[in-house]
């Protein structure tokens, strides 16, 4: 395949940044999108340029590090995939492909396609845990959990924290991410003890980080590589309202 790749290049947080064109020839349809980027980078290095910075690590769709906005979609075309799981067979010979970073106020660009997502970590640090020290646990089977609740908690827990939901949302809202953690823990008896404080603190931190609010567009659910459901946002809103009304 022969392709034209238009990539966002930005030297640092204060640089203005611009789209730059690259030509690639002989790309195999079996290559992954990131392997195509590797080839492009080695081509740039051999021509004496600076390679395109992008985040990636596990390359099997689970670490949540890769984060490209491809042809106007978070993680590119295809549903239920991260950028690293996207293959060139999803494109056609002669295509022009646009590659941009996640864009959100709370995800400032570090360089090129690399953004700073530590705001997500700070949200988890504000309450996304069960307060149990190592060694303080009772026997694992002492606390039976209804299977439906356990399965729903698991589905929420599969969030990989990539930030596609924020990137794709017109409000740059992090509600899907935050609600996934709130839901996982509020569905389980272990997490119920601190449920009120958790939701209040996490929402507060989310707002302080500069994420927008939810207007129920549902784009986040569509672009989420792990299929995290919008139901979680509803559950978080319910938890939040309940906690706001009852907390002293």
């Amino acid at each position: 395949m022969n392709l034209t790749i238009k990539v966002w290049r930005q030297d640092g947080p204060s640089d203005k940044g611009k789209m730059v064109d690259y030509k690639l020839t002989d790309i195999s349809p079996d290559q992954s999108f990131l392997e195509m980027m590797d080839v492009l980078n080695n081509q740039i290095i051999e021509e004496g340029g600076e390679p395109i910075a992008f985040d990636h690590d596990c390359r099997e769709g689970i670490c949540g590090m890769c984060s490209m906005y491809i042809n106007g979609e978070a993680h590119g075309p295809g549903r239920g995939v991260t950028t690293c799981q996207l293959h060139m067979r999803s494109f056609n010979d002669g295509d022009t492909i646009y590659v941009e970073p996640w864009r959100a106020k709370a995800f400032p660009v570090i360089k090129d396609l690399v953004v700073d997502r530590t705001s997500f970590d700070r949200i988890i640090a504000s309450g996304g845990y069960v307060s149990v020290n190592t060694g303080a646990a009772q026997d694992a089977n002492a606390l039976p959990v209804n299977k439906d609740d356990a399965d729903a908690a698991f589905d929420a827990a599969t969030c990989i924290g990539c930030g596609a939901c924020v990137a794709t949302c017109k409000n740059s809202s992090a509600m899907l991410f935050v609600s996934a953690k709130v839901s996982q823990l509020s569905l389980l008896p272990q997490g119920k003890v601190e449920a009120h404080d958790r939701v209040l603190n996490m929402v507060k931190q989310m707002d302080e980080e500069g994420f927008g609010n939810c207007t129920n567009t549902g784009a986040c659910e569509v672009e989420c590589p792990k299929g995290i459901s919008l139901e979680n946002i509803a559950r978080m809103n319910r938890e939040f309202m309940f906690a706001s009304l009852t907390n002293k």
Partner: protein, 666 residues
């Protein structure tokens, strides 16, 4: 330097309890005066950092990724073992201990493995309390499944994402301490050297990967939890960033490196498809419960399949060679990983590989689909179902069990495994070797510890499935919190370690010089070029089968390649900015030394054991043959300047509770 494993006295079942009762403690007020550095935030590092901070130590945690949640433990699929005996099937601490020692082909330290089995049950309790959503039965209690090489169901799991859920548990415990200020988190930071003061580990030199600043960090102890070194092979199931730099740096500063040749080649991975390939993807071992592995019996069928003239399902049953079932009738497709990998290589080397490159075998679910389909039809009361109905019902059962894996396979290969057999081939997956540690997990540098895959301690020459997660969390949650106190008890009056000392100056200078070399080197080839060549040498000559001639060649070739690398590597950009090529250059420079040491270790160990197969040491039937008389030891290598000049220290392995036997899976 002598090797003292510090194994406590007494019967094996009492060693750990006695040891805990007798080692020194640090009182809560004094813990606040002590700093601990943790490198890596996977299961070992994350659990250690969280636990130590909860106890009151001041922790500084480092990871090269943008968040501690990204560490590669997250990619583990299958599960975590624990001797809970919830299934009432006769499991016990002793059985888990025995299975692990046997699975490791009798090359691990008994006392460490017993302790691992002993604390395994606590791990499950801890994780459940954190809110890890393990699979449950309808009664609300935890579910278990079975894994290769054992006869009980002791594996706890969360679908195919067990590693992710366990890591998120440890990560949330860490974030809780970060929120309290007890852990200072340094993400996008890479440790580039260890600082040793008066013979003790007292800090590190790290590079801030965003702005390139070189930073000094001091502490009373340093924990290396940086994972394994499988990426020496370039192509492996490790993450792209997984590297051995922290482990190699402490080796250069005096920590012995143990059994580097023990590499686990996992039998079920998606085969290489082209030169552009950057990594290999694992398909969980659990697939071998239902998949049958085969290649065609006839060479002409192999040709027809390769050229696309025949489809695999068109080959008649009698023309298929189910070689694992043929060679190992009692274990069949469920032989341990090392045995399954070598058998695949044997068939492919003989010319029966089923893809273009000749390096793939089939993993076929057709018979399992039909078997489950018939069962489901019976359950649903469908009498005399037609083939199509059976297939549909069978597909549903398989989708419930392995759905996410089948989907992952289809995304990568564009083949539908419900309709055509998967193609698989072995790939580098895990390294049993690592930094030598004593019973307290301390390396041969006082105050420097190694945890998880980074150390060598528990898996011998071959790791069993679902045991890596167990070891990482055991080390971090339940071993280091006790053993570190024994060392730090002497440091309560030391005070903060200053960083303006000659030792920090010298370490920083060395780091800076290496970076300057890369930036000023006007070479012609990118880092990947050298990494791929190193990987090819390692895979061909220090991979699934090794021999004396090949290993000697490999050592010479790696030395040559290393020279070429330093002279001709091209690193673009600048040192004081975000520069991923510079990061890679440093990691590959270390792989180029470690690779040579792996070959030297493999050459020295002239026996076959576990993942290490020396062609000279095999039975008439081609099975691995150990040599217990000469090689029942841990090979701990001391750095002396050049990998080839490393000095060998032997820690004799004593088996007091388990009798050494030749493994047989026939």
């Amino acid at each position: 330097m002598s090797l003292d494993s510090k194994i406590p006295e007494g019967p094996i079942a009492e060693k750990w309890t006695n040891h805990k009762n007798n080692i020194k403690l640090v009182n809560p007020a004094n813990k606040r005066l002590i700093d601990v550095i943790v490198i890596g935030t996977g299961l070992a590092g994350g659990s250690a950092a969280a636990s130590l901070a909860e106890m009151g130590y001041n922790v500084k945690a480092f990871c090269f990724q943008d968040s501690p949640r990204r560490a590669h433990s997250i990619a583990a699929q299958g599960g975590i073992n624990a001797a809970k005996n919830y299934q009432n099937d006769g499991d016990s601490t002793y059985r888990l201990f025995y299975d692990t020692v046997k699975g490791g082909d009798y090359r691990s330290r008994e006392a460490n493995v017993y302790r691992l089995a002993e604390v395994s049950a606590n791990i499950i309790d801890q994780c459940v309390a954190q809110g890890v959503p393990f699979a449950r039965e309808y009664g609300g209690l935890l579910d278990n499944r079975s894994f290769g090489g054992v006869q009980v169901s002791r594996t706890f799991y969360a679908k195919g994402q067990t590693g992710q859920q366990l890591l998120l548990g440890a990560y949330s415990a860490m974030e809780r301490q970060i929120g309290k200020g007890k852990i200072q988190m340094y993400d996008r930071h890479e440790m580039l050297d260890l600082v040793v003061v008066d013979g003790k580990a007292r800090g590190i030199i790290a590079r801030n990967l965003i702005n390139g600043e070189i930073e000094r960090h001091s502490a009373h102890a340093v924990l290396i939890c940086s994972g394994g070194y499988g990426n020496v092979f370039f192509l492996s199931t490790n993450a792209m960033g997984s590297n051995a730099t922290a482990a190699w740096k402490i080796h250069q500063k005096g920590a012995h490196f143990a059994n580097p040749c023990y590499t686990q080649i996992h039998p079920t991975c998606i085969p290489v498809s082209g030169d552009y390939q950057s990594k290999l993807t694992l398909m969980s071992e659990s697939l071998r419960n239902d998949g049958r592995i085969w290649v065609p019996k006839k060479k002409e069928d192999v040709e027809a399949i390769r050229s696309g003239k025949l489809r695999p399902r068109e080959i008649k049953e009698e023309d298929r060679d189910y070689y694992l079932e043929r060679r190992y009738p009692s274990f069949g497709n469920l032989v341990p990983r090392d045995v399954a990998s070598r058998a695949a290589k044997e068939r492919c080397d003989a010319g029966y590989g089923v893809n273009q490159t000749g390096e793939a075998v089939f993993l076929d679910f057709a018979s399992a689909i039909m078997r489950y389909g018939r069962e489901a039809a019976n359950v649903q009361g469908i009498h005399n179902p037609d083939e199509k109905t059976i297939k549909k019902l069978g597909d549903e059962v398989i989708a419930n069990k392995y759905g996410n894996l089948f989907q992952m396979y289809e995304k990568i290969t564009d083949d539908n495994p419900y309709e055509t057999p998967m193609k698989i081939y072995p790939a580098v997956h895990y390294t049993m070797g690592g930094v030598w540690v004593d019973y307290n997990l301390m390396t041969s540098i006082p105050g420097c510890y190694a945890l998880g895959e980074a150390n060598f301690s528990d898996h011998g020459a071959n790791r069993l499935g679902a045991s890596a997660l167990m070891q990482g969390l055991a080390d971090g949650y339940f071993v280091i919190p006790y053993t570190i106190g024994d060392y730090l008890a002497d440091d309560i009056r030391t005070g903060t370690i200053p960083t303006d000392t000659p030792e920090f100056d010298a370490a920083e200078k060395a780091v800076q010089e290496r970076i300057n070399h890369f930036m000023n080197n006007k070479g012609s080839k990118p880092v990947d070029h050298f990494h791929k060549r190193l990987g090819k040498i390692m895979w061909e000559k220090c991979g699934m089968a090794r021999n004396e001639k090949g290993l000697k060649e490999a050592i010479a070739e790696i030395q040559e390649l290393r020279k070429e690398f330093w002279a001709d590597v091209k690193v673009p950009g600048t040192a004081n900015s975000f520069n991923q090529e510079l990061e890679k250059a440093g990691r590959v420079a270390d792989f180029l030394e470690l690779g040579e040491l792996m070959c030297l270790d493999a050459l020295t160990r002239a026996e076959s054991c576990g993942g290490h197969f020396r062609e000279e040491s095999q039975t008439d039937e081609g099975e691995a043959m150990r040599n217990d008389k000469d090689f029942t030891y841990v090979a701990a290598w001391e750095y002396t300047g050049e990998p080839s000049a490393a000095k060998l220290h032997k820690e004799e392995l004593k088996y007091e509770n388990i009798e050494l036997k030749q493994r047989s899976y026939k």
